[in-house]
């Protein structure tokens, strides 16, 4: 089997060790990395679709994401700026201030990455100002705030307030999600969108970025 096919298979099967090994072989053979990354991204999109239709579940998705990351870590230095240009967009994501939950946010992160986004995951309980600072640092397109508690939902509004105060509101799209949130509330706080689940988050980001 060709190296590239083996690599795609390792990612589809979620084997990060094999993915890293084969990625190294790909580099050593001097393959053009851009088409390889394109194939891997396509594979991850396929997995994203399977996740959406319950053909695969979170464990498989997380393993494939790990395998993709392992391959990209090997490619990283060789890809340079052109690799980054292949991304659909840059998303800064985190749990709202005071919110210690992260599994939902982690799922969204994995699915967005699989669809071709560069995602900076700031973790849980992220100060509102940190979202803004990181977005500026990474020249992000989207800020995503996850709230799993009704009491931490106002943190998303605070992010929007800081952006407005600093004259940055038009620079970033702000999206929100999490079990207690809903579209009506998202509209009320002035967010650019709300997603009910990880699949909707991808659709929302694609719509906001004007990509498919």
């Amino acid at each position: 089997m060709e190296c590239v096919e083996k690599l795609v298979q390792a990612v589809m099967e979620g084997d990060d060790e094999v993915a890293a090994e084969v990625a190294q072989e790909v580099v050593e053979k001097g393959e053009d990395l851009q088409p390889v990354v394109a194939k891997l991204t396509e594979a991850m999109r396929e997995l994203g679709k399977q996740f959406e239709t319950f053909e695969i579940f979170l464990p498989e998705m997380m393993c494939s994401s790990d395998a993709m990351t392992a391959a990209m870590d090997v490619f990283g230095p060789k890809l340079g700026a052109s690799g980054a240009a292949k991304k659909k967009g840059v998303v800064v994501i985190g749990g709202a201030p005071g919110d210690m939950h992260e599994i939902g946010k982690n799922i969204v992160t994995t699915v967005l990455q699989s669809d071709g986004y560069e995602v900076a995951d700031l973790g849980r309980d992220v100060a509102a100002l940190e979202f803004v600072k990181k977005a500026q640092e990474l020249k992000a397109d989207i800020i995503a705030v996850s709230a799993l508690m009704t009491t931490t939902m106002p943190g998303a509004k605070e992010v929007i307030r800081i952006l407005s105060e600093q004259g940055l509101r038009e620079k970033y799209k702000v999206i929100v999600g999490g079990a207690p949130t809903n579209g009506k509330w998202a509209k009320e706080i002035g967010a650019d969108g709300w997603a009910e689940n990880s699949t909707d988050a991808v659709t929302l980001c694609n719509n906001l970025m004007g990509v498919e």
Binding site: G14, F54, F57, L58, C63, D99, E102, T150, P180, N182
Partner: protein
């Protein structure tokens, strides 16, 4: 006829005399008596007062003793983050610091166990004849996530034996916690395993189903009733939940309740749900909540159906909304 009789009828998959109603009052009990969630979940007296207030206001047929899925994890050494208007959250996973072999099963004197068990004893004594009191235990998979963090999810693929070992320990914790409640006269044990909605039916059968066996064994030994609670879009594992050797299961509003009812009835199992929490009980109007409850009843009515919210009621849940549902159930 005691209120709990209709609940027991549903758990026995009989046609109840009227719709059984179980509002999951957890931290919301603190709100009802004007106490913060952290103070509430750290006091046997307040847990008792909150439950009594909920019984007075919401006229339930069943009620949980305490809805805190972090109780066992805390005893086992996980760090918790406390807030004033929610249950605590796990912020540090104990298996990041120690190995599984270092962990010991919780005892009745550990952590907040004494205050929860004391509350159980007191409520059984005072209202147990009329209300179906529920002992809630953290499900093995959710406890595994507390202990290991989200890496347990990918290790189900990469290191299944390690996960099975952790699940084996969590199964024992779950059974032990159930025994503590049952020893105090609790008649219904709910194994609350919300995170199982993220895994496949195959993994559910492989990793999770066997982990329920020790708890089921002890529940059956006490001739008590068993329920399994899940959250999120658990559509794919509904048939598996229905096949569990339990009396029934509970779901939230993220799935099609009609489908849930159909699957539960294939195996003559009780099923509880699925009043919307956020859009309904928390932020909705009274009329909307009555409508949601009527829709649930219309779909579920008949043997096995229990009217309940999707999950633990939020701290700030609007009492008038809950009272309206109670009014609908009781016909006034």
């Amino acid at each position: 006829m005691a209120n709990k009789d209709v609940l027991i009828q549903a758990l026995n998959y009989e046609e109840p005399a009227r719709v059984p109603w179980v509002p999951y009052v957890g931290v919301h009990g603190g709100y009802l008596i004007g106490k913060d969630a952290d103070e509430y979940l750290n006091s046997a007296e307040l847990l008792y007062q909150g439950a009594m207030k909920a019984i007075e206001e919401y006229r339930p047929d069943g009620l949980p003793i305490a809805f805190d899925l972090q109780l066992e994890a805390e005893v086992l050494g996980c760090d918790l983050a406390w807030v004033k208007d929610n249950p605590p959250a796990v912020k540090g996973h104990v298996l990041d610091k120690v190995s599984l072999s270092d962990l010991r099963l919780p005892t009745e004197g550990d952590g907040r166990m004494p205050l929860v068990l004391k509350t159980a004893e007191r409520l059984v004594q005072e209202v147990g004849k009329d209300i179906g009191l529920m002992g809630l235990v953290c499900g093995p998979f959710t406890l595994g996530l507390h202990l290991m963090g989200s890496k347990i999810v990918s290790k189900m693929v990469k290191k299944p034996d390690e996960v099975l070992e952790v699940m084996g320990f969590c199964a024992k914790v779950c059974a032990e916690m159930a025994r503590m409640y049952l020893d105090r006269g609790i008649e219904i044990i709910a194994v609350v395993d919300p995170m199982t909605s993220t895994i496949s039916p195959k993994f559910f059968d492989k990793f999770v189903v066997p982990s329920y066996d020790p708890a089921i064994e002890i529940i059956n030994k006490f001739k008590a009733y068993s329920l399994c609670f899940v959250c999120g879009n658990a559509t794919r594992i509904i048939p598996n939940l229905s096949r569990l050797n339990m009396h029934g299961f509970a779901v939230d509003e993220n799935l099609d309740f009609k489908y849930v009812a159909e699957e539960a009835r294939k195996n003559r199992k009780a099923f509880a749900g699925n009043l919307p929490l956020t859009t309904g009980l928390l932020f909705g109007e009274v009329e909307e909540n009555i409508q949601y409850a009527e829709e649930c009843i219309e779909i579920g009515k008949g043997p096995g159906f229990i009217l309940a919210p999707g999950c633990d009621m939020p701290y700030f849940c609007e009492p008038e909304n809950v009272k309206a549902v109670a009014g609908l159930v009781h016909g006034k």
